[in-house]
Each structure stands twice: as structure tokens, then as C-alpha cells.
Amino acid sequence: MLTAFIIFWPLIAALVLFAARPANTRMPALVAALIELVVSLILAAQFVNNEAVQFLFNKPWISSIGISFSVGMDGISLLLVLLTTILVPLIILSTFNSTSTKPHTFYGLILLMQMALVGVFTAQDGFLFYLFWEIALIPIYFICLIWGGNGRGRITLKFFIYTLAGSLFMLAGLIYLYFHTEGVHSFDLQALYQAGRSLPESEQSILFWAFFIAFAIKMPVFPFHTWQPDTYTVAPAQGTMLLSAIMLKMGIYGLIRWLVPMVPMGVHAWGYSAIVLSVTGIVYASCIALVQKDIKRLVAFSSIAHVGLISAGLLTLNKIGMQGAIIQMLSHGLVVFALFYIIEIISERAKTRVISELGGIRNVAPVLTTIFMIVMLGSIALPLTSGFVGEFLLINSLFQYQMLLGAIGGLTTILGAVYMLRAFQRMMTGDTNKVTALMTDLSSTEKLVLFPVVAMIIILGVYPGPILAISEPAVNNLIQILSDFTTYVKP
């Protein structure tokens, strides 16, 4: 019941904002997001740590074609729901310093987005999953289109069509599986699992690509990433935060929840190719990030590199890789949120995002510099930050899988250190110039947003045990399913 509540609550809140158009929209939006956070924390407290799907809510919806409104959470879902419900209030809070046009539309769309994200992470019905997956696209598209920068019309349309194209192939795959479910056809997750696993390897391979492309576009994995840098750059700060911190996790979650258990033989057959693509993306995106002049674009490319590592580690299908993927999803969400927010703060004050035009910010804004430092260290996976735990596990799993891939994947950390430290050095150290001389340090609202995130980055890095424990039963279950299916042959 509470699961249904955390899906519908943001929707109701958004509709109320659209309809009532209160003079001050920020506070109601923030309160709505905080209520959502509290409820999700209650759910986390009630969560029993085993592999079962909990808090199930199942009502028949379109019974003529076997679609039901079925939502629930296991450990993996719970962690991602928590990531969403923690970050959305912070995203709303991060707007408190700036004024936007049409605020009720803006906050309403953010809350709609939250509804769709929570829906994606909790859906236990294939059709419902697809529906939320697509609905998530609409608010973020309009956030980018209405409040985006120059060239937003063309860039956001590319983004929209790109992601829609991917998900339509996923839809075709889902319908195909639906017609292979036993007895009365249904979109129930377990029925789809059974249907997928009963197919021969050749068909599973086709389905693997139909799903993988949809997920790969969302993350994005090389070579399906071409929409991403432009969209991240043109989107308003809050849009970029939503896209990078939460929305790309939809793709990784899709891999874990839908692709791997549904077509295990397809994953065994083609997983290697997918890993090679992901690892290629790591090197490719890192190299491009090295030469970026715009700090926002740099972080966008670094995000491709990090996500590439997550998907590669995940597809090695060993336990360390999967656990690493889950913790790194959370860590990346926190880090990239903080990074984009810091970039927004700097560019708002300096009126530029070009790295070479900035410099000496440390002299005028020490608190900002310290925060940026910690977040950046989290991004380049320094020990005792959350990034370290995730990247260590992921690279470890890649090494176990194949030495060479592990070595190449390890480049993320090295190249990441290079471009991030260089950017940090140029922007923050040295003498102030006329652009940065008048910059002020963090305001109290900005501190309110950044301090909890930084705290979480450090806590996750020092003591990741509880988080890993939440997802462990679900991951074990997944490993069990995979080993039941085929003996895994290393390429």
C-alpha cells in the first residue's frame, strides 16, 4: 500500500501545483518531496532483509490483456527509491536561490518525474515498467525544452527521439515475451521471466539486444551516447541533475531487473560484446573529457565513463561486480548531483563555465572549494569516499573476468583523476581574475543542499556495509538464477 502511495503522492502533489498555482510554489513542492522522503524512510525501516519482493501492491488494471498495477520492492529497488526520494527534495531545495519563470510548471514537472522514477524502480509488471519508463521521459523533456539554453529545441528533440526509439524496441521485446507466457498471457514479472528463460538461445540473443539498446541509450553506453553531452549541457541545472543523478540509473536498474534474469542465455552469449562496448566507452569518454573547455560538458563526458564501468562490471555477472554496480549507482548519483550543483553555483556567479576563464576561486570561496574538493575526490574514487568502494569492486570484478578488460577499465580512475584534478586546479587555485574576484561563498541554502550530500559521500565510503547488506540477498538470488541456467563459459 505504501509503495502505491509513494508513486501516487508526487502525482497528486504535481496536479495540485498545476491546478492551484500558489503564489509561492517552492515550499509546497519541497514539503511534498519531504513527505515522500519520510514515507520512503518508513518503508526502509520496515524492510526485512531478504530476497523477497516486499510491500507488494497488486491490483488488476487492464485485465483484458493481463496488465496489473503491481508494485513492490526488493533490496535493489529500495536503494534506488531511496536515492530518488533523497535527491528530489535536494534538487527542489537547490532552486531556492534562483527565480524561474512558470514555477508551478517547473516544480510540478519535477514531481511528475519523481513519480515515474519511483514507478520504474518498483514496477513488478512488464507493461507498467514500460509505461513509467516512457512517462519519465516527458517531464524531463519539457524541463529541458522550457528552461534550457541555446539550441534547446533541436537538442532536446534529438534526445527525445533517441530514447523513444530505444524503448520502442524494448516494447516490441516485451510484447514478444508476453505472447510466450504460459496459459493466459500476462505481463507479470515472474511470468515474463519464465517466458524469457524458456526461449532458445537464438531468440534470447535478439531479445538481449532489443532490451540492451533501450537501456544502453538511457545510461548512455558507447556508441549510443551521442545525445547525452549536448542534452546535459543545454538542460537547466535541475534537469541535468535529474538526468544524470537519477534517470540514468533507470538503464542500469533495467539491466539488473529485466535483462539479466529474463534472458540469461542471451546475456551469456552477448554479454562479452556489451562489456567491450562499455569499456570502449570508458576510454573514449575519458579521452574526450580531457580536452573539454566547458566544465559542465566535462562532467557530462566523465559521467559516460563512470556509467560504462558500472555496466561493464555488472555484466561480468559475478557477485562483486553486481554489488559494486549497486553501490556505485548510489555513489555516482550523489557525486554527480553535487558536481552539477557546484557547477551551477559557479557559473551563476561567474557567468561562465569555461574552465580557462575561471581561476582562484579558493581565495574568495573557501567553503565551496572544500566541498568541491571532497566531491571531486569522490568522483575520482579516492579511498574513504563512496566512489572508491564502487569502483574498487567493479574494477575487481572486471579483473576476475578478464585481465585486459580490467586494466582498460581501470583507466577510468587514472584518466578521471587527470581531467578532474586539472579542472579543479585551474578553476579553484591560483590568483583571482576579474571574473572570479567578486564571487561570494556558499549561502546557507546551498550549504543545506551540499552538506548532507557530502556527508553521505563520506559515510558511504567509510562504512558501506549496511548498504551492501540491503542489496546482497537480491543479488545472491540473481546469481543463483544465472547459475541455474547455463554453465558460464569465459570467452
Binding site: 525544452l145 528533440l157 527521439i161 523513444l164 524496441f169 514478444y176
Partner: protein, 455 residues
Amino acid sequence: MNALYILCGLGVLSLVAEIVSIKRGLLFFLTVGIAVAAGVAVMDWNSTQSYFSDMVVFDNFALAFTILICILTVFWFWMSRSYFHNETHVTDQAALVLFAVVGAIVLTAYNNMAMLFLGVEILSLSLYVLAGSKRENLFSNEAAFKYFLMGSFATGFLLMGIALIYGASGLFHIDRIAAFAASNTGNLPGFFYAGIVMIMIGMAFKISAVPFHFWAPDVYEGSPTAVTAFMSAIVKVAAFAAFTRMFAFCFASSYTSWLIILQVIMILTLVIANITAVVQTNVKRILAYSSVAHAGYVLLALVSTGNSAGVILYYLAAYASASLLAFCVLIEHENQTGDLSIKSFNGYFKANPFLSVALIIALLSLAGIPPLAGFFGKYFVFSLALNQGYVGLVVLAILTSLAGVYYYFKIIVALFSDPEEARVIPLSASTRFLLWILFLVTVGLGVFPDLVNVL
């Protein structure tokens, strides 16, 4: 059938109103009358009745489409008040529209080739006049003339086909022809099949399938916008009801002879209409091509045998409601600005948020974005086709619908681009209410698609 009587009565009444010059409140009265007709049709549900020695059969199929047409007509009268008030001959035009609706309903319920022909002609003749009802406008005249020429050409094909079928079977009744064809498979004369193809061509003109669609964009663009809305929603529904009755029921047993032709027509319709729409710069013209393109998706449902009637009904209901919603915005926009190019919508969202949201919802539904009605329409069609093993056709339909997303979104992007000439458009409470209703229908059909799951 009672619904048909009521509509005929309303048409005649509207003509009489001209003589006794009662114009005030006439439109409201007609709208209520049509709503009553819809109610009467609902009461007849599940009672299959035939009239005039089986020439018309009101089974559930006919009733479902009749109800849909009546409801759409109510909405249409509601949104087209300005059209009637700007022209002098309110009563004549209202009567013509009502007679067109009568023709449309005959097309859903015919059980005889003669009734099919009558239905087509009643519908078309009224439309020819309506298309040209902006008498001083050159484009409107062109539209009427073009429509008339092409339409009569199509009717010629249709008649020729009917004659050939009659020559082969000696029958006019649809159900008897179906039985005759089923029992004589293999030894039917060649001209029976020629007749089927002729009828298919004649009807393909009416549903504006490629390559018989050339009239559609020009006629849609030239006609008064309200008439375009009528053609794209109500006429489309009727034409497809007729098409389904003919090919899913009458010629079902001899499908091997026409299936491949229909598939080719379908592929052409999807590809050419969607690609041509991409380069259009006028919103009305984009909607015209989109209407042609949507015919392609319905044809995909038709070529997938099985329970296609229910899917087609849902698809058309979803398409028509979204289409009316879009046209409702266009009519308001045109009344104020007189311009329907994409450019005239630049920066629209800032000045007219409500109209913009309505237009966006309509376009999202037409593009097939969940959870709106248009998405489920496409979903049902695709899953029907996949169930029949038409994987290639579904992939093609998916790709063309992506092109669709592109041209619908071109309009949406314009709404948010930097304002150039954005003007605030005043909305009456009644229009606002209508937009809300159509909006809720589009969303409601999507969230509860089982509501229309009656066939």
C-alpha cells in the same frame, strides 16, 4: 436505427428552421438532439436488428461505431460554433453536416451494396459542399472541386466493383455474398476478385490511403478548419467502419486475393505519409498527412486478421478524440490570427498556457506517447500484428511512428521557442470546458483502455 431516424429528423428540422427563420438556439438544440441519438443507440446495445429486408443491420459493430460518431459529432458542433456564426447560411450548413452524419451511420450498418453506395454518396455529397463553404476563398473552392473530382472518380471504381461482384454472385447482400464466397472458394470467376480490388480502390480513396491520398492534403488545407476537423475525425471513423465491414466480414474468406494488396497499400501509407509530413510547415497540412498516416496503422490492424474490429474501434476513438482536441485549438488560433503555419505558434506557451497544454496533449496522443489514448491504440495494433507474426511490418510501423514523433514535436518545440508574435487568445468558458472534456477523454481512454473494449 432509431438514432438514424433522429438524425434525419434533425437534418430536416434544420432545413425547416431556415424557412421559419429560427436560428437562435438551433445549434444547441441540434447538439442535444445528437446526444439523444447517441443515447438511443446505447439503449439498442446487444439487440441485433435488421431493417428494410436486411439492407441495414444494426449489430453491436454498427452500434459501437454509431455511438462513437454521434459523440464525436456532439463535440464537433460544440467546437465549431464560430464556423456557423461566421457564415450566413447557418441552417443549410448544419443540415449538410447532419446529412453527412446520416451517411456516416449508414456506412457503419450497411448490409447491402446499394446501402453502401447510398451511404458513401450521402456522406460525400454533403462534404463536397461543406469543403467549399468559404465561398470567397479560392483555396476552399479548389478543395471542393478537387474533392468532388477525386471523390466521383473513387465512386466510379466502387460502383464498377459492386457490379462485378453482382455479376459473379448475383447477390447484393453482404452476408449472402460472404456465404457465397465461402462456399465456392476455388471456383469463383476471376472478375469476382477484380471486383474486390475495385471496391478496395474505391474505399481506399475514402480512407485516404496511399497512393489514393493525393486529394487529402489539399482538401484538408483548403477547407474551413472546422470542416477539416469533421473530415479528419468523423468521416475517417465512418470510412473505416465501412472498410472493416467489407473486408473483415464480407470478403474475409477470400482474403488470400486481397491481403497482399492491402499490405502494400498499408506500407506505402505508413512510409510516404509519415515522410512527407516531416517537411510540412503548416500545422493543418501536418495534421492532414498525420490523418493519412494514421490510416496506415488502422490498416495494419485490418491486415492482421483476428479480433481486429475492437482494436480498430479503440484506435479510431483515440485518434479522433486527439484530433478533435488539436483542431479545437487550431480553430481558436485561426479565429484570432488567421494563420496556421508552425511559425505562428512561436512562443505560444507563454501567452496561452492552457491552449498550449491542450495542443501538446493532443499531439502527444497522436504521436503515441504513453499513457495517452494514442499509445494504447498503437499498442493494441502492434500486439495484434505481432501475434499474427508480422514482425517486419511492426518494425516498419515503429520506425514510421518515430518520424511521426519528429513532426508532431516540431509543433511542440515551436510552442516554447522565443516569442515573436505570441498573442493572448481569449477563450470562452464553454470552449475551455470542451477542451477539458476532450483532454480528459484522451487521458481517460489511455488510463482505462478497457472502457472501449466492447467488440
